[in-house]
């Protein structure tokens, strides 16, 4: 048997069925590392599902549940997918969680160096849009190397200089866009319409009306996270909400929605029906 990692999970070659004890004729040795193609992320492994973002009067909110799935297995159930960066920025990540961990480490190191340098070279600290532009450039550069950072990331923040909120999206292709409400993945189909409806109800389609309050924003995010839990098989009824205002970042404790599954008993193939 070939136990080299390159052969894991692969069907045995025809030769192996003849003589699996003789490596000379069965699984050939894996090529030395320097001859192998450079290993890039081909697919996400441990993944987080959709994340949501919405602007409200004086701030911005992001929401993400605490689940990291391994395929359809609910593998890790206390993962934080919201991450603060400095005093006025939060990112929320969907997609590959190991890439996200790497990203957090990288960004933390950059912010730490910026912080250290700010003592001697007094320059303004990184604004949310600075961090967003950095991420967009990073993601686009990596996709252009065919080695993507397999995430869709929302950046929410408060720009101290402009005194305004920031909300942006960037993903593994380097695609970027901004909007007053954002949702990734399945949430783009399920939650985004609800978020837009709630946002436009007050602000109007041109966004020039009054924005929703913090309470209203929390309510619509709670509602969206519940609907996503009902509809998204990769979601979990345990989530957090990050709020950024001029006063800084607050990431809530994990919370759950009230759900009602009584109707499931009546579904054919689910309940106790025999017919």
């Amino acid at each position: 048997m070939n136990h080299h990692p390159a052969a894991w999970g692969r069907p045995l070659p025809a030769s192996a069925s003849f003589d699996m004890y003789n490596p000379q004729f069965s699984a050939p040795k894996a090529a030395p590392a320097h001859q192998m193609p450079v290993a890039h992320t081909q697919q996400p492994l441990v993944t987080g599902t959709s994340v949501l973002g919405i602007k409200f009067d004086g701030g911005v909110m992001l929401a993400a549940d605490n689940l990291a799935s391994y395929g359809s297995l609910a593998r890790f159930k206390d993962i934080e997918r919201l991450h603060p960066l400095g005093p006025h920025t939060v990112i929320a990540a969907a997609g590959d969680m190991s890439d996200f961990q790497w990203l957090k480490k990288e960004l933390n190191a950059i912010l730490r160096e910026e912080q250290a340098l700010s003592l001697t070279d007094s320059h303004p600290s990184l604004s949310p849009s600075n961090i967003y532009d950095f991420l967009a450039n990073l993601f686009y550069a990596r996709r252009s190397k065919m080695n993507p950072v397999w995430n869709a990331v929302l950046v929410g923040g408060w720009d101290r200089v402009k005194a305004e909120t920031f909300l942006g999206y960037v993903d593994l292709l380097g695609t970027t866009y901004s909007a007053p409400t954002l949702a990734t993945g399945f949430g783009a189909h399920i939650a985004q319409p609800l978020l837009r409806e709630a946002f436009e109800a007050k602000a109007g389609t041109d966004g020039k009306g009054p924005l929703m309050t913090q309470q209203e924003a929390t309510a619509v995010l709670d509602d969206c996270m519940k609907v996503l839990f009902y509809r998204d098989a990769r979601s979990m009824n345990k989530y957090q909400i990050a709020t950024v205002t001029k006063d800084g970042v607050v990431i809530s404790d994990s919370k759950s929605s009230e759900t009602q599954w009584g109707f499931a008993e009546d579904l054919r193939g689910y309940g106790a029906q025999t017919q």
């Binding site: 070939n2 390159a6 052969a7 692969r10 069907p11 045995l12 070659p13 025809a14 699984a27 050939p28 894996a30 090529a31 001859q35 192998m36 193609p37 890039h40 992320t41 081909q42 697919q43 686009y140 996709r143 252009s144 065919m146 993507p148 999206y169 292709l173 380097g174 695609t175 970027t176 866009y177 901004s178 909007a179 783009a188 189909h189 985004q192 389609t205």
Partner: protein, 335 residues
């Protein structure tokens, strides 16, 4: 033999299998449409502001038309991330040029530079359709269109993107005023409901326009639903006069010579109509108008020149060329 021939090119055998095939697809299509039309001494470059992926609208406002210099505006369409980064590179090259030569790069040079930059990525292309519009050194309005790998030509007009196949034939064609009037009197109410005043106004402009000889549609042609809708709104001659024959003794048609008000009407009608017929087009319209130095602005800024619901601003000069660039904005339907 089939047993062996059927072998999956086993990654088991690294040497036989060759490099691993990457499943990752680095491209996406973000919809939207762009359009540019050249006039005698102006150029109009437009794009909608919707960015989408599949059936999802990612955002209702993402810019895809960019002012490069005082006399050049670039519209990008296709994969938004490539578009954004391509424009960034073009702007960087233009800045370097200005530092080196103390002047802005001429339009035809920008066009050639864009072709070089696109072809430089021939084997990992920017998935972007570019349309460059502006004023040439001789003062004429110009439009250059590109394919993703750099093939380019100067044209009188060009549409690209999701609704290219709807808009381009409309621009290519030319229909007689008589037929236009016929359509206009039988307009479907729902079609004209969102630009009624614009249609009527343009009608007057066109019928009063003595620059162009009256034209007749000499053939019985099939008009697609899109073209019929657009025409009923436009009430104007189009640009390339394809399949048209001038009246005996009349001057030949010259593409790229329409008055600005007519061009603006065509642009608006192209986009409102494309919005009706294509799910990836809508939300907002941005029209850049570049004018040669010294040209009158009355036909843009004059009273009643812009239909209701349109906003206009002048973009500040980047150099001292004297050309002027205006940005006209208008809402498009959001559904």
């Amino acid at each position: 033999m089939a047993l062996y021939a059927e072998h999956p090119a086993s990654a088991h055998d690294a040497h036989a299998a060759g490099p691993t095939q990457h499943a990752f697809n680095p491209y996406s299509d973000n919809g939207g449409t762009i359009l540019a039309i050249a006039g005698k001494d102006f150029s109009v470059i437009a794009g909608d502001t919707r960015q989408s992926e599949g059936y999802s609208i990612q955002t209702r406002y993402a810019r895809k038309v960019w002012q490069l210099t005082d006399n050049a505006v670039l519209a990008t369409n296709g994969f938004a991330a490539d578009g954004k980064n391509f424009v960034k590179r073009v702007k960087q090259r233009l800045e370097w040029y200005q530092h080196a030569h103390h002047k802005q790069m001429p339009l035809r040079a920008i066009a050639r530079m864009i072709q070089t930059m696109l072809y430089g990525r021939r084997f990992f292309p920017y998935y972007v359709y570019n349309i460059l519009g502006g004023i040439e050194e001789d003062g004429s309005g110009a439009v250059y269109s590109f394919d993703p790998v750099g093939s380019y030509e100067r044209e009188a007009c060009r549409a690209a993107g999701a609704a290219q196949s709807l808009v381009q034939p409309f621009l290519d064609n030319q229909v007689s005023v008589g037929i236009l009037l016929h359509f206009s009197s039988h307009r479907h109410p729902s079609i004209c409901s969102f630009v009624p005043s614009a249609s009527l106004r343009k009608h007057t402009i066109v019928t009063n326009d003595r620059q162009f000889p009256p034209r007749h549609d000499n053939s019985t042609r099939y008009l697609g639903v899109f073209a019929m809708e657009a025409l009923s709104l436009a009430l104007t001659p189009q640009i390339y006069f394809k399949n048209q024959v001038p009246e005996p003794g009349a001057a030949p048609f010259i593409p790229g010579n329409l008055p600005l008000s007519t061009v603006l009407g065509l642009v608006v009608d192209s986009f409102t109509s494309a919005t009706e017929r294509h799910i990836e087009v809508g939300d907002g319209l941005e029209v850049f108008v570049v004018m040669n130095k010294g040209r009158t602005t009355d036909d843009l800024l004059g009273e009643g020149q812009l239909a209701e619901g349109m906003e206009i601003e002048e973009l500040g000069a980047l150099g001292d060329g004297g050309e002027r660039t205006f940005l006209v904005k208008r809402a498009l339907k959001r559904d």
